[in-house]
């Protein structure tokens, strides 16, 4: 669905990363992991067509991203930002309707059908009762689900999610991850998400792409990529990966004393 080959990414003349090749197929969840500042956000912005690649190209359903117009891209690929607080108190349904932009004529307003699509998207995520609520007053978890609902209303097959569980409490993280898993496995969406929590990759049984210093260090099933050695190297702290009684893997960083911080680097 989306394929990037030999990509160099960056802003203007500043190179942030290079030699990046990445593919996401329908029904697949890919977790992008990597420390702060490794280039995840720049990579996402390049994949979304918000900034041009410095070299290489991004193919969307086999077509070069740079040849597609904004609305053509939006009909194929949806961006799920972190659930932020907007400057104005839009209603939840109005926010979700904005996902219809690429399917509504330039001078038109949403039709009855568009409203129906928006409400269906909310219902699919189990938040149908929030349609009339003030989006700016929702909890972080609800806002994140509304952002995902907006992406569903966009009816794009590829979902690019920027740290969908950041700043969510424990329960909401699990709820949002469950909905994401459903979208990929039952809905056939191709999901590319960034996260700071390697445990989530295990929980989602996802493919993991590990990013470090602007390049891709490893790409494969979570169990293969997320080894103690690699995690320790990338994050700069000692990490153990353990198997729980139920058979799932969890990562446990060892807490270090202040004077030993950075020695592993």
């Amino acid at each position: 669905m989306i394929a990037a080959g030999a990509l160099s990414i960056g802003h203007g003349r500043t190179l942030v990363g290079q030699a990046i090749s990445l593919e996401v197929e329908a029904g697949e969840i890919v977790c992008l992991l990597g420390p702060n500042g490794c280039g995840k956000t720049t990579l996402f912005r390049t994949l979304l067509g918000l900034i041009p690649p410095l070299a290489g190209r991004v193919l969307l359903d086999g077509r070069d991203l740079t040849t597609l117009g904004r609305s053509a891209i939006a009909r194929r690929m949806a961006y799920v930002p972190q659930g932020h607080v907007p400057p104005f108190p839009y209603e939840v349904e109005e926010v979700v309707l904005m996902g219809r932009s690429a399917r509504i004529g330039l001078l038109s307003a949403p039709s009855v059908l568009d409203h129906e699509v928006a409400r269906t998207a909310l219902a699919r995520l189990g938040i149908g009762d929030l349609a009339g609520a003030d989006y700016s007053r929702l909890s972080g978890g609800q806002r994140q689900l509304v952002m995902i609902a907006r992406a569903l209303a966009q009816e794009a097959s590829i979902l690019v999610m920027d740290e969908p569980t950041a700043s969510l409490d424990f329960g909401n993280q699990a709820r949002v991850l469950s909905r994401i898993a459903e979208l990929a496995h039952a809905g056939g969406h191709a999901v590319l998400l960034s996260t700071h929590d390697p445990d989530q990759a295990f929980a989602l049984e996802a493919r993991v792409v590990l990013m470090h210093d602007g390049g891709l260090l490893a790409d494969g099933p979570a169990g293969d990529v997320l080894t103690p050695d690699r995690l320790s190297e990338v994050y700069g702290v000692p990490v153990r990966v353990e198997r729980t009684a139920s058979g799932r893997h969890v990562c446990a960083p060892a807490l270090t004393k202040a004077h030993s911080l950075g020695l592993l680097k």
Binding site: A72, I73, P86, P87, Y90, A102, L106, S108, R137
Partner: protein, 339 residues
């Protein structure tokens, strides 16, 4: 979370709200037509409008009050519509149409015209072009700034260009003839409709409409600008092109009414707030409600300006005296999104 007292109105209510406000505005206009040094009963006003009153009443209504009442409503509606557009576009409820220097530029243009002792029509033309010129300069400079968020670059450049235009205006005030030109300049800078005639309004009306049409046509899509560029782009909307279009439209609207009324502050800042309070932030309903509220507000203020004292009070003084405390009250209520 939906239990708070002032949930925004549902769509059906928004339409009836707009209808109610429009009727209130019509009633207010009739009232304003009847008030003045030559008081007229409602019946006389209606008769005069229908062309069936005595010659004196006909003259007062058609030549003096109607142009002024229509002018106040036009200027108020235009400034509020432009303010609503600027606030969505800059994702900031504290923005007024002056932020990109349109008023400062128009003021400089008008003051130049007065300084050169040009006729009124030329002064108005200078003001209009000055307003457009200032914003065009801001857009040009901001687009050549690299490495800064585009919106931030626009706002900062707007402040700089506005300050420069203000300095030039001050210089002209110092150099102006203190008996003849300076009072005219001061009066213009404070805003007034005292000299508005039907022939002033006629050329402005189509220009305001030219600015309003794109805003009306793009009424739904403009909401996307409130999400920020990346999100709007990812949703399939070319945010920078849309923003440029909205800036152009709102600037044409503002410059054209500032040209006939002078600098009238506060309307474009507080009226969109009131409108959001009544019908929520959705631009498709916000735009007409803000326009009607703005028309009513300036009608009220202008009627006070011409009746409160024996001399004309400049518009800008009363809009600030009424607007500033109201704005503080809005802030103190502390409702998110409205303040």
């Amino acid at each position: 979370m939906t239990g708070h007292a002032l949930a925004t109105a549902r769509p059906a209510h928004r339409v009836s709200m707009l209808a109610a406000l429009a009727m209130l505005l019509a009633a207010g206009a009739l009232l304003a037509l009847s008030i003045g040094p030559y008081p007229l009963a409602f019946g006389d006003v209606l008769a005069a409008l229908a062309g069936q009153a005595d010659a004196q009443a006909q003259l007062v209504i058609w030549n003096i009050r109607l142009p002024r009442v229509l002018g106040a409503m036009l200027v108020g509606a235009a400034l509020a519509a432009a303010g609503a557009s600027y606030q969505v576009m800059f994702r900031n409820p504290l923005v007024s149409p002056d932020i990109l220097g349109v008023s400062a530029g128009a003021a400089l243009g008008a003051v130049c015209g007065i300084f050169l002792s040009l006729p009124l029509l030329a002064v108005q033309g200078f003001a209009f072009l000055g307003g457009l010129g200032a914003v065009a300069l801001v857009i040009f400079i901001a687009s050549s700034v690299r490495g800064v968020d585009h919106t931030l670059a626009l706002v900062l450049t707007g402040i700089v260009v506005g300050a420069l235009a203000g300095a030039a205006t001050s210089l002209l005030k110092v150099m102006a003839d203190p008996y003849d030109q300076l009072p005219a300049i001061t009066f213009w800078l404070l805003g007034s409709l005292a000299n508005a005639t039907g022939s002033d309004l006629m050329p402005v009306l189509p220009v305001v409409l030219i600015g309003l049409i794109p805003l009306i046509l793009l009424r739904w899509r403009i909401n996307l600008l409130a999400l920020g560029d990346d999100e709007a782009n990812a949703l399939g909307v070319d945010a920078s092109r849309l923003r440029l279009l909205v800036i152009a439209a709102a600037t044409i609207i503002t410059a054209s009414v500032v040209a006939i009324a002078g600098v009238v502050g506060w309307v474009g800042l507080i009226i969109p707030h009131m409108a959001r309070l009544l019908v929520g932030p959705s631009f498709a309903t916000l735009l007409p409600v803000a326009a009607v509220l703005g028309a009513g507000y300036l009608l009220l203020v202008d009627t006070l300006c011409r009746t409160l004292a024996t001399v004309e009070i400049p518009l800008g003084i009363l809009t600030a005296i009424i607007g500033a405390p109201f704005f503080l009250w809005l802030l103190a209520r502390g409702r998110r999104g409205y303040t």
